[in-house]
Amino acid sequence: MSHDLTRLSASNLAEKLTSGEVSSAEATDAHLNRIEAVEPDVHAFLHVAADAARATAKAIDARRADGEKLGPLAGVPIAIKDVLCTIDMPSTAGSKILEGWVPPYDATVVKRLRAAGLVPLGKTNMDEFAMGSSTEHSAYGPTHNPWDLDRIPGGSGGGSAAAVAAFEAPLALGSDTGGSIRQPAALTGSVGMKPTYGGVSRYGAIALASSLDQVGPVSRTVLDSALLHDVIGGHDPRDSTSLRDEWPSFAAAAREGAATRSLKGLTIGIVKELQGDGFQAGVTQRFQEAVELLTAAGAEVVEVSTPSFEYAISAYYLILPAEASSNLAKFDSVRFGLRVNPVGGGTVEDVMSATREAGFGPEVKRRIILGTYALSAGYYDAYYGSAQKVRTLIQRDFARVFADVDVLVSPSAPTTAFKLGEKLDDPLAMYLNDLTTIPANLAGVPGISLPVGLAPEDGLPVGIQFMAPAREDARLYKLGATLEALLEDKWGHTLLSQAPDLAPQEMFASEEGAV
């Protein structure tokens, strides 16, 4: 039974909770058991709040029993990326410098999911301060890809994606600065959405690069991401950059897309610059097959060119480190977090230096140095200034092509999951893995990744990415749900049902739950 419950999508589980067929306590126990079984292999979590989760689940069950009208996801367990502040759990952003730090407040998105009755299971692993594409830069050890434990799950949100893909949680929260939701989703066969910049509050998300960061959902189905987006989205007066828009129901958009299975009237642009050289053959193959499905469903597919995308990575790796160098200045040991006193004592500057030396990992230091340099007097115009101009050009490229097409499409990542340690000593190779996802962050437009199959050469998941104009998040959920339905019609199953079962001993523990 417990095995069964972890295999349900969030929306299916929510239906069973609503009907009273299962309780939140049962669902939560099932996921906690699964976590216990697979965590030694996967290491998706930095913190598991088992007792608190069970207590929350019981409270939700009691409210439901009292006849209270609860939200659509009430009682559904969720994993939270460790970049988000939680008042009852440590929030380290994967860094030693915040080891054990429990914030005195909840991030707005966490507040909202608690208010909606979701059950936080714990905090998920990530590259330190979200700097990385493999989760190998976590100060607490890497997360392993559930499809192949010798491979990375993507990053920075490898923990959230792996937790969902390994059936440890039906839902997770991520944050996406240059692909940290979408790329891990692609590499683990799950679904991840980066909303329009300003669509979801950043208050309480430990900042990497403020002008690029966006919190979003991670799940196994498009509808589940849409349901979670409905819970966390919308204006927050504590975040000045959050939009005041009234948003449509994303879940309704996803349901409509899955029901119609038709793309008549939709024009999709294949981004010329996000394919070809450097893309793994199996990635390209599955991508093209997916595009054929889209055409067959009535979409008009055209190729478009966005020449400025060529400079996106260069601009990104100036803007991000510049903002990060400033955002990370607060980690100085004075008010919170790690404090290292230099041998023989010293001034406050000495303590700050010793703390930052000991508390930050090499990738964080690399980017702080890059960013400090890029903002320095005499270099600002050449680096930060030029990068901002490129950003404007990329935004214009988007605006130009969106005049002709409704949605853009590309592979979510150039390759499938690579081996642990493969790119750790080559930062540039690591950076290049984000070339498909970075443009959306630079322009603030929404992007979604969903699985389109396994690459024939390595049997690992391949993701497709759709991007829409800012504020058109609903369009992505509708289109994503259509493609997902078409693919599952074709396969006769979900992609993740093909993932290795990481805990075969469970087959004996729960005979009645054999799938």
């Binding site: 988000l84 502040c85 929030s91 952003a93 915040l98 730090w101 914030p103 005195p104 407040y105 991030a107 950043r202 208050y203 309480g204 998300a205 430990i206 900042a207 690069a209 403020s210 002008s211 007066p237 504590r238 975040d239 000045s240 950059t241 510049a322 903002e323 160098s325 400033s326 200045a329 607060k330 980690f331 100085d332 004075v334 008010r335 919170f336 406050v348 500057e349 700050m352 400090t372 903002l375 320095s376 007097a377 600002y380 930060y384």
Partner: protein
């Protein structure tokens, strides 16, 4: 600290031209802080008026205080500045433990107000126009307390404590352009400039503006350059120092004078001025070296990505412009003319700080001269004795009623002082005090004649002298009558009646 060598002031001015510049920080008295909803209240238990935003906790984000923006626009307009239709916050990055985020949110290349000027009145009445480069919004830092050292300064301290209650208090920094031409009046100009800024923010009601509490802080920049012969181009600007910790108007004046004398002594000997901050010591009347400050300080400014540009509508700006109070300098000039005061009288009023009380008293009906006489005279004297503000003793309305009673002849000045005493003691309005204390002038001739006849009868020799035409002898009788009337009679009327009765 070795005593710095000083050149006599007159000689310093003879050899060098002082060049000035001021940065005045004004703390705004908004209800909440610049970027958080913590109360804007500095004081109380350390680190209690703080939110995650003020402490720079991970994940926290700033939100601009709308009232602070409005106050800043009003101040910019009062300084004759243009208001930017779009201005931006920037991050000024530097590590210091009183700065929670290790960057200050300030404005850099796009301030909210720019290009203004303010007219300043020197002690001799001459007007001097101080050019304003900009006024920009920013947040205050926390307050460090250095413990264990001899001086309370960071040097020699064992440890330091930090209170973030002040962190995030809204500030407007007003920056002047370079000020030329102050010449020997430089110290007085400095004082008058800061005083004028204080008057402006007080009239706008946007700051408590108490220098001793740090609501208004002045950093005074000064450099000297050698004088050149007539017809020759001026020498290039000298190296400047920036004097901080100047906590009163008087200190501003003294600090500038001191720096002119100190720098002149160094330059005259062929020495060079170090570009640095100087710390003003009120007790010794000296400045001491602070930290070196170079124009190459690199704060790595960049636009604050957590905040949107500030874009006030033209309607809002015009609304605030229409609501501006009369400029304090213009208002003073108008009042002086309206009231017909001499320079001395008006200066007396300005120095007493009772201008607004006198305005209110005249508005209630008193003449300006009477209002001035009471406020700067008896009321100020009592306030001085009691060590309180004159304005707290009595209301302008009651002063105007008192003046009206004197003008009507109901009270003499001497009686009026007693009535004022009653009002100050809380016995009621002047009319009520007159009634309760029985202090009105006796204007009933019948009662006076009875007393006069009695006095004449008891002093027959005096009566004889008066009848002989020795009018000055009447003084003795008048005195007796005034005594009998307990002073509550008009002495002139008594004299008339004495002469009348004696010769009857």
């Amino acid at each position: 600290m070795a005593k710095a060598e000083l050149m006599p002031y007159d000689k310093a001015i003879e050899m060098f031209e002082p060049v000035l510049g001021f940065e005045v920080h004004v703390e705004l008295n908004t209800k909440t802080k610049m970027f958080s909803d913590a109360p804007n209240f500095f004081g109380g238990e350390p680190n209690t008026n703080v939110t995650p935003v003020d402490l720079g906790l991970p994940g926290s984000l700033p939100v601009v205080n709308e009232q602070a923006v409005k106050y800043s626009i009003s101040l910019g307009l009062a300084l004759g500045c243009s208001i930017a239709p779009s201005s931006r916050f920037a991050r000024k990055n530097y590590f210091y433990p009183d700065l929670a985020k290790n960057y200050q949110i300030s404005q850099f290349d796009e301030p909210i107000a720019f290009s203004g000027s303010v007219e300043v009145e020197l002690p001799d009445g001459r007007l001097f126009t101080v050019p304003i480069e900009r006024a920009h919004m920013e947040e205050d830092a926390g307050k460090l307390t250095h413990v264990g050292g001899a001086t309370g300064r960071i040097q020699g301290a064992e440890y330091s404590l930090v209170d973030y209650n002040r962190a995030g208090v809204p500030l407007v920094e007003i920056v002047t352009d370079i000020i030329y031409g102050a010449e020997s009046d430089a110290p007085e100009l400095a004082k008058a400039y800061v005083s004028t800024i204080r008057d402006i923010v007080v009239s706008l009601g946007i700051s408590d503006a108490k220098m001793e509490r740090g609501n208004l802080r002045c950093d005074a920049n000064i450099s000297l350059r050698p004088r050149t012969a007539p017809g020759e181009p001026p020498a290039k600007l000298g190296t400047r120092t920036e004097t901080k910790n100047v906590n009163s108007l008087r200190s501003v004046e003294r600090a500038i004078r001191y720096e002119i004398q100190r720098q002149a002594a160094i330059l005259a000997k062929g020495g060079t001025i170090t570009q640095e901050t100087r710390h003003w010591h009120e007790d010794t009347g000296e400045t001491s070296a602070g930290r070196p400050k170079s124009d190459a300080d690199d704060y790595r400014y960049f636009p604050e990505p957590d905040l949107l540009p500030v874009e006030p509508s033209a309607e809002l700006i015009e609304e605030l412009r229409a609501a501006l109070p009369e400029a304090p300098a213009l208002r003073r000039r108008r009042l002086k003319a309206d009231w017909g005061f001499t320079d001395l009288e008006f200066q007396d009023v300005v120095n007493s700080g009772l201008l607004n009380e006198i305005v209110a008293t005249t508005a209630a009906g008193a003449s300006a001269q009477s209002a001035r006489k009471w406020w700067t005279g008896e009321i100020a004297r009592v306030a001085n004795v009691r060590g309180v503000d004159a304005s707290s003793l009595v209301s302008p309305l009651h002063v105007s009623e008192l003046v009206a009673l004197v003008d009507a002849g109901t009270l003499t000045d001497r009686l009026a002082r007693q009535v004022l005493d009653g009002v100050i003691e809380g016995e009621g309005t002047p009319d009520e005090v007159v009634a309760s204390r029985g202090l009105a002038v006796v204007s009933d001739d019948g009662a006076l004649i009875v007393a006069i006849d009695e006095a004449l009868a008891s002093q027959p020799d005096v009566l004889a002298k008066i009848r002989d035409g020795k009018v000055q002898a009447a003084g003795a009788v008048i005195g007796a009558v005034m005594k009998a009337m307990k002073g509550q009679a008009d002495a002139a009327r008594v004299r008339e009646l004495v002469l009348e009765r004696a010769n009857a």
